[in-house]
Symmetry: D3
Subunit: 164 residues, 6 copies
């Protein structure tokens, strides 16, 4: 039986922190699905298609990583994909509390899969997508936070916004 | 002297977590007042009247539990009701920090009453009213989180919203 | 029915932090029992009798506070005293974790009573019996940490120790 | 070489907690600059000028404290001012996490200065500018939280708001 | 390639909390090795052989769980077994800190394997081997904390100790 | 007036984590005193003289760092040295709690100096002297945790121990 692991998130945009978790988790399972959660109530900077493009470009070199998007509850998506587990990165204590609440809730809704946690590398422990978006707006250097193609697209977005 | 304890909150809606605290706290004092805080700046799903109705229905079996609503500062309401203490449920560390800040502030404003904390049962430690509202919107099964009459009313609300 | 609350601890010796919890908790119940846990595996500085004497002297002014000592499990003592609850002071996060573990364990062993938590006053939040014992050994001024009679007895103990 | 320390923040308005940090930090360096961060995306109650006025009035008695405002990234402002460090007050654990993330990010962006942390006095550990604004709206007594001139201005603001 | 996961610990004795992690983790990998760490500096209640016996008896029903013991550093044992990861249960925040420190240290010593974390079921979140040993000494009922065969052996140990 | 900062600790032995704090703190003050606390109740691996030698060797290149040792209370030593502050490194949350308790206690005993906190670099956040001693005993590679001269001395100590 092929073991599939889901890595859900907004990835708006993908950072070196996410890349680190992908590289670690893909070695533990037969397939790792990076699954972009479509949240209509949260404003996103990049469209789902743009995010799929970026992640695909950056993870193409890994044979067993695929990219997908989903609507609705994570537990339903996991069931549909027949995955054995969901992986989440933990960076710090505040992650821990939120992630535990989500994992306990998901276990209550569907106890046929597990949530596993990996530690983000300490060098990326302070990076978040929202921090990156805030920094670039103020002209900060984000090359230590996101891969080059993502930085490029962030600057394009910013340029378009300022033009309008 | 009759000892009155106040259990303040939004209860929008009441969950099994709140019910657990009510069942525990009512045994410690002569009267337990479930006091709905009227917060004009926060959008609520249920009106104050609807919340009073639901809580009254669910706590009717307890002889010493009453339901009320209040405007303004909690310290003023506690003084008006001549209560000896306020009870709050603690579920996790993030509760702890927020609740301590509030309790310290209230003590500074009026040191004639105490804030006591009870632990929510571990089975309900991840439940919150906002989680329940989010789950039902995505079609999640919430029967493990709220009593049946609350689930019923939540579905009615949702139906009305979708009709509009 | 008279409501009895148990305040268990080592009280080796009693500090201003403990005094603060006693003053707060005694207003909420008909009787507050300060119950010294007899732990044969922990070395104590003061004997049970000395601790009973000190606490009795300091709480004599409160009409509804009594002092006692117990062996064995707290849950058995609570049952024997027919108490409705146990009170514990919370000073900081590390207290919170330990206290929650104990309260959950006690609930599993006997769910007929509650554990309630009160916040220690922020001015006493860093005081502990072991800190006091460490400070006095190095000649630190402990008058801000323990009542005068306790300071007096601590100095006596120290003198006796050094003589030997 | 003169050592300059920056104390950045919103100070909307300045509280006794901020005053405590200013009094402590100014003794450690040759000059302490209270630097108001101009954040166009956050609604503020007081204008930058009003905040400069209030802080200047309250810190005038300290010879080595100056007041300033800045736009953009803190790291750029620190470089411009040629400061050796930034000081931040820690009140509680939630501060700790946020402040660490910011300090790590700033270190990545510019490692030529340090972020130092001081503990806010325990008596002010629960005060925040937003709490003060919420309390005054509900008629709470805020004299224990902010200096008198700030309380006066807060009441003026409130009066003007209600008139409109 | 067969994926092996190591579950290291003292298991002195195994509790329902450990059993829960074993049941969860074994579904994610081809083989799960319960690996008893031999720590000469820590007094243990049960010998390594007794612990192997108990765990084997309780996990015999699971086809892909084996039991082993090891000396020295975990990283060396993982390399020897050619395992892809180590699994640890997280019960609460204090676990989180300690486990993260160990995982970071192990990663520094050998970055060819991952440490994954699973949440212990909330019903077992307060159980620890040392708590169980303390409770049984005071005559507490431990049937909710350990499987029956373990309870039986604990009582035997206790009897032998008291005889001596 | 020359500003002196004290960096107190056991330094048994000094690690890269300590070195990082020394390098950061020495830039903020005129003189940084690395002050070894002599604790007769704690078994140490290295003597005070050995620790002074190691730290002196490693900090000799810094013009404004001196090494000293002290008995008794830190507050008395700070007063004697006429220092304006004490610096402590924070690595993680558990540090935070302990350090805050110590800083509050010291402030109560002597409020004429400040305790400032610096964050240890994220690459050293998991290193502690006791971890290093444990690793070397089991033959772990500690070159990423302590400078070469310290590693050398640790191996000497170990060799002597084993010979005995």
């Amino acid at each position: 039986m092929k073991r599939i692991c889901i890595y859900p998130g907004s990835f708006d945009p993908i950072t070196y922190g996410h890349m680190d978790i992908i590289a670690r988790a893909r070695g533990l399972f037969d397939e790792l699905v990076v699954a972009i959660a479509h949240n209509i109530r949260k404003n996103s900077l990049f469209t789902i298609s743009e995010r799929i493009e970026m992640i695909s470009e950056l993870t193409g070199k890994f044979g067993n990583v695929t990219v997908d998007a989903f609507d609705g509850l994570l537990v339903d998506y996991v069931r549909k994909r027949n995955a054995c587990c969901v992986v989440r990165g933990l960076r710090a204590f505040s992650d821990f509390e939120y992630e535990f609440q989500m994992a306990l809730t998901n276990r209550k809704l569907n106890d046929s899969f597990e949530t596993i946690f990996l530690m983000t590398h300490e060098n990326y422990s302070f990076i978040s997508s929202s921090l990156v978006k805030e920094l670039i707006e103020f002209g900060g250097d984000i090359s230590a936070f996101v891969p080059e193609p993502v930085e490029h697209r962030l600057k394009e977005k910013l340029y378009v916004h300022r033009e309008q």
